[in-house]
Structures are given as structure tokens and as C-alpha cells.
């Protein structure tokens, strides 16, 4: 693995830079040289899923040319990785091999113990696109189980959708909110301090609901959990 590129995703780049910083730190700790092509913007998923196929196709082609020449593209998002791998080729683009973070660690680098330390009670939400579009299965759990100090608690009805769904969350806000309410109840039932997942979009949705209710449960992206070490433990992002 010579040249690895990070695709931060527009959402993470703009709203959750700590996740992208954590991804870089984690990959470098594992001995990789990470590059971040500064021309990158968005994979086109929002446009595609909302019905704007032509715009999505332009962005897909742009993405492929941006990342051509890399051996692998790593994405801290199951849904954006799914978009690149499973949809972009149908839109006329030929992206390089692209992996969601947990897939990259477990399948490509073949590590489950990344030397992380995260002394918190954590529950994991498997986001729909990670689970069904990419089929990441138990890889994130395998990684979390190796994290020192971490107490992993099972999330009831884990595989049911949180109700985000991109523009679905605003187009069908009432239904989305009902799905969110059930997901939050399950999260609260675990007694976890931290909710983790491989997608900041879903965490933005569930976290937004948990924050509105002042529950005190923190959403933390999987990359940030895995990047945390005893020397440099995770700390809430300062905004």
C-alpha cells in the first residue's frame, strides 16, 4: 500500500473535522503515508439520492479524476464509501478502490488491535449503508473489542434505521423523527456514555436528537475512538 488518499467527505470536512484528523492520526500511527487531495469536495450522494442524477454524475466523474492514481481511498463514512463503490460506476465514473475505514483496517491492513485506549461505556450503531450496501458486518465491533478500557454494550434493535436518510430527514421530517425517537430510546436503554458509528451523518441525526433532549450521551465517530490513546486520549472537540 503505497499511496493512500483520505476522502474526508464534505460533511466531515466542514462540520466534524476532528473525525478526519483522527483518521489521519490513526492511519499514520499504523505506518501509512496519507495524502489529502485538496481539490476534493463531495461524492454526489445527496444529489443522487434526492433524484438529481446529472449533478451526481458530474460529481462522480470529478471524484474519480481527483483520486485516480491512488492505490486506495479511505473514507470515514459507510454511506459515502457505498456511493463511490456501488453507485458512481453506474454514473459513468471509474473510481479507484475505495474503503470505509473499518473495512480498510480489517480487510486491507488486516489489523483489529490498533492500539487504542478509550475508557468509556460505548454502544455501537451499525449504519444502514455500512451494514447493507457495503456489508461491513462485525468489523467495527472487532475493532472496538480490542480497544483498551472500552466497555462495549450491545445496542437493542441495532440494525434498524435511525431515520436520517439524507434529505428524507427534512422531506419526511415527522416519520424521520418517529424513527429517531425509537433509536434514542434504545441508545438510552444501554446506559452508554458514548454512541459510536462509522457515519457522521447518522451521528449528526441521532446526536442532534440526544442533544435536544439533553441526554448527555455523546456521539463520537469510530475513527475518533480508534485514534484515542493513553498518551493522547480523546477529548470533546472545541468549537
Amino acid at each position: 500500500m503505497e499511496k493512500v488518499a483520505l476522502f474526508a467527505t464534505c460533511l466531515t470536512d466542514t462540520l466534524y473535522p476532528a473525525t478526519a484528523r483522527a483518521t489521519v492520526r490513526l492511519l499514520e500511527r499504523l505506518g501509512l503515508t496519507v495524502e489529502f487531495p485538496l481539490d476534493q469536495t463531495c461524492c454526489g450522494q445527496m444529489h443522487f439520492n434526492t433524484g438529481y442524477r446529472d449533478h451526481a454524475a458530474d460529481l462522480a466523474v470529478r471524484f474519480a479524476s481527483m483520486f485516480s492514481g491512488y492505490d486506495a481511498v479511505v473514507v470515514p463514512s459507510g454511506s459515502c464509501a457505498g456511493m463511490v463503490r456501488h453507485v458512481q460506476p453506474d454514473l459513468g465514473a471509474a473510481p479507484p478502490p475505495t474503503y470505509e475505514l473499518s473495512e480498510f483496517l480489517v480487510d486491507v491492513l488486516q489489523v483489529t488491535d490498533v492500539g487504542a485506549y478509550f475508557p468509556h461505556r460505548v454502544t455501537y450503531h451499525p449504519t444502514c449503508h455500512s451494514l447493507r450496501m457495503l456489508g461491513v458486518g462485525d468489523k467495527p465491533l472487532a475493532l472496538l473489542r480490542q480497544v483498551r478500557g472500552l466497555e462495549l454494550v450491545e445496542l437493542p434493535q441495532a440494525d434498524s434505521c435511525c431515520g436520517f436518510g439524507g434529505t428524507f430527514a427534512v422531506k419526511n421530517a415527522d416519520t424521520s423523527t418517529a424513527m429517531l425517537a425509537d433509536k434514542m430510546r434504545c441508545v438510552l436503554d444501554t446506559g452508554a456514555e458514548v454512541l459510536t458509528a462509522g457515519d457522521n451523518s447518522c451521528l449528526m441525526h441521532i446526536g442532534g436528537g440526544l442533544s435536544r433532549l439533553r441526554t448527555g450521551v455523546r456521539p463520537v465517530h469510530l475513527a475518533e475512538v480508534l485514534a484515542s490513546t493513553e498518551e493522547e486520549p480523546w477529548a470533546p472537540a472545541t468549537r
Partner: protein
Amino acid sequence: MGTRNPVTWLGSPTFPEAARTALADTQLRRNLRNATTTIRGRRAQAVGELPDWERLRRAGEAIKDDVLHHLDRYLEQLEAAVTARGGVVHWARDAAEANDIVLRLCGDAREVVKVKSMATQEIGLNEALAAAGVHAVETDLAELIVQLGDDRPSHILVPAIHRNRSEIREIFRAAGLGPASDDPRVLAEAARAHLRRKFLSCEVAVSGANFAVADTGSVVVLESEGNGRMCLTLPRKLITVMGLEKVVPTWQDLEVFLQLLPRSSTAERMNPYTSTWTGVTPGDGPEEFHLVLLDNGRTATLADPVGRQALRCIRCSACLNVCPVYERTGGRSYGSVYPGPIGAILTPQLVDDPHDEQAASLPFASSLCGACFEVCPVRIDIPSVLTHLRARAVEAKGRSAESVAMAAAAWVFASASRYEKAQKLGSLARLFAHDGRISWLPGPGAAWTSSRDAPVPAREPFREWWRKNRG
């Protein structure tokens, strides 16, 4: 023809509006959650018993695709076989034609018995018959509950899934069936006594069909209660209304679906009653058999290379039972005979009018979580068809506030420098932040902040950090 396609219900609002009403009904949500949670678990278990489930799914997909590619040939073969065995085949382009055919075949009958059929619901047959003075008696228990309650079905397989047993007792009592308790056994017995009288008095029966075998002309109905079999065997005349896509080439192909359907729909290894009949047999069963082959938007659907896979559907309803949107909103929010994920892709295609706002709202009634595709026994890639139909709806709508915003976003994403300027502009949302959260946003953002706090844009986007630290 110019008549409205009754696959959608007249006057139904768009999905988001109908869903809002349904979501406010806490009893409905409880009923639905209990029912779907139970059947989900049972289905997973029934499917898990078969080591070759994936191969069966692929076989089902392949057979259906072959049928769709050569539909003309198989239908002609079916017609010839049915005719050779003494049946009569009728072709109906749309709902109005199909209803006219059935009404004409009913002759002098004032009452007909029916085995639950999606095709006859799709064409609004009961209403059409009633308008001509013919009463159609639904004999499927759940369908009877819906009919007596003057209600609309909310599930393909369990039309009364949204009702609990005390509600059912009230419906039966109001209809004069008079059960004394809400014990399911007592309720079923009341329905049984009522239906027995109808089976023995009706001269005409109307059915749907799960499958029809092209090479022998045999028609197949799968059911759980046995009421269907009474309909199919007792009356003198049998009229079957069947969607064009229900044909399968041979009995050997049928074998695949007799395994896929029960496990997917009722989570049973085998359904209790499988009835097959081939034309007419003197002295045994109906003396007359009519098969009405219904198009009603199917050939138009067939013309769409992505959308046509919806015609593989065998109406098992597994997708409804796993759908998180269906679970909260119920079937009636879809405003159509076909609810849930399959309804969201089938209904707009059968309606075939991109300007129909209600039908056009259906492909958006999904978070694209993919649970439907995972369970579909004939591998209909519902999420892909949803996004395909969304694109069609967006195109038909033309210029809108949304399309302008999406074009602007695409323009921004097409250039890193424009994107970075937008990031800086977007960070103005920080002005709405209090205590590290945004609880209210103006304009379109309000739909988000109605129930969720919004994230506060970072002071330093990742790319700035990268430039400073790694660039």
C-alpha cells in the same frame, strides 16, 4: 379511456401529509410495531432453516426476469392452454375494461364471493360491482374485517394489521355478527358462520392468482384459511383476475416460488392451502372458468429497464414487515392498494403519470436503509428503483426551489475554491449557536431543528488544518 386508475385512492394526500396523521395515532403505531416485530423474527427463522436460500432467491429472480423478457410468448402459451382445457381468457388493458368484463360475466348474480386478491383491489372491483348492484363478499378473514369496518387495507398480506382484537369485536358487532368476546377463537367462529352461509348461496366466485403455469394453463392460489378453496370449488362460475406478470413457464418453475413465498410472507415452511385448477372438469368444481389478464400499467412498467424489476414481485409483503417507515406510518399513508416499499415503487409506475403528486411523493417515503432489498425473495433492488423513480419525479417537476438549490450546491461542489468560500459562509450558522448547539434554524433548516439540534460548523474545517499541519 380517460378514467382514473384506482390503484391509488381518490383524495389521498401526499405521503408526508398522510404520515403525519398516522404518526399521531399512538394505538396504530403500537399495533403495527407489535405485528411487524413478531413477523420479522419469525421470517428470519423460517428463512434461516434453508441452507440454499440465496440460491432460491437467485432462481426466483432469474425465472421472473425470463418471464418479463418473453412475456408475450408465455401469455399466448397460457391463453392457448387455458382455452384447450375449457376455460375462457379475456384481456383487459386497464381497470375499467377489467371491471366491465367481470360485471358482464356476473350475469344475473347479485352477490359474489371473493378470495382476497390484490389485482381486484387494484382495479377497484368491489366498488365497480357495488355501483352495478352486485355485492362482493370478502372471505379472507382480515379482508372481511376491513370490508365490514368500511375501512381500507393497510397491508398486502394482513389487510387488518392496523386493528387489534377489541377493535375487531366492535366491527363485527356493528355488522351484526355478534361475537360475545374478543377471544380470537370466538371472533374467527363468528366470521366462519357468516361466511359459510355465503359460500353455499353464491353462484359466482371471483379470485386473484398467485401464479399461472403457461405450459399447462393451471392457475394457483396460496392461502392460509381455506376460505379461498371454498370460493374456488363451490360456486358454479369462477372468474380469476390476474396481473400479466403472474405467469410462470412450467410446473418446475413453480416449485421455486412455493418455497420462497410462504417463508417470506407468513414465515411458514409451507402455506396451509395451495389450490391449483386447470380449465374446467365436468362434475368437479366450477362449470365455467374465466381468466381475466390484466395490464393496467404493466406494459408501461415493463418498458422501463430499471423500474420493471418491480414486476418480479410475488406479493409476499416481507418488505413491509421490515420497513422502518411502514412500521411507523402504516399502509394507509401510502394512499394506494400497494403500501410499503414495494408500493412506493410499484404504485407510481402503475399510475404512470409523473404529474400525479401523491404517487410522485411515494419514492421519497424511504430512508433508503435497504432492509427491503435484503429480505426480498426475488431480489428486487428496491432502493435503486426508488432513486430511479425520484429522478423521474424530479424531472417531471421541472424548476423548483429545490432544483435551484441542488443546482447551486452542485456548482459549489464542482470547484474547491467555491466550496471553501461556501464553508466560510456556512460557518455563519455559528451565529445561531448557544451552549455549543443550534436549536433553531430559519427556512429549510427549520424542518431539521423541529426535533433535532444542528451541529455547529467548525471554526477550522479539516482542510485548513491539513494545509497548516501537513500541506
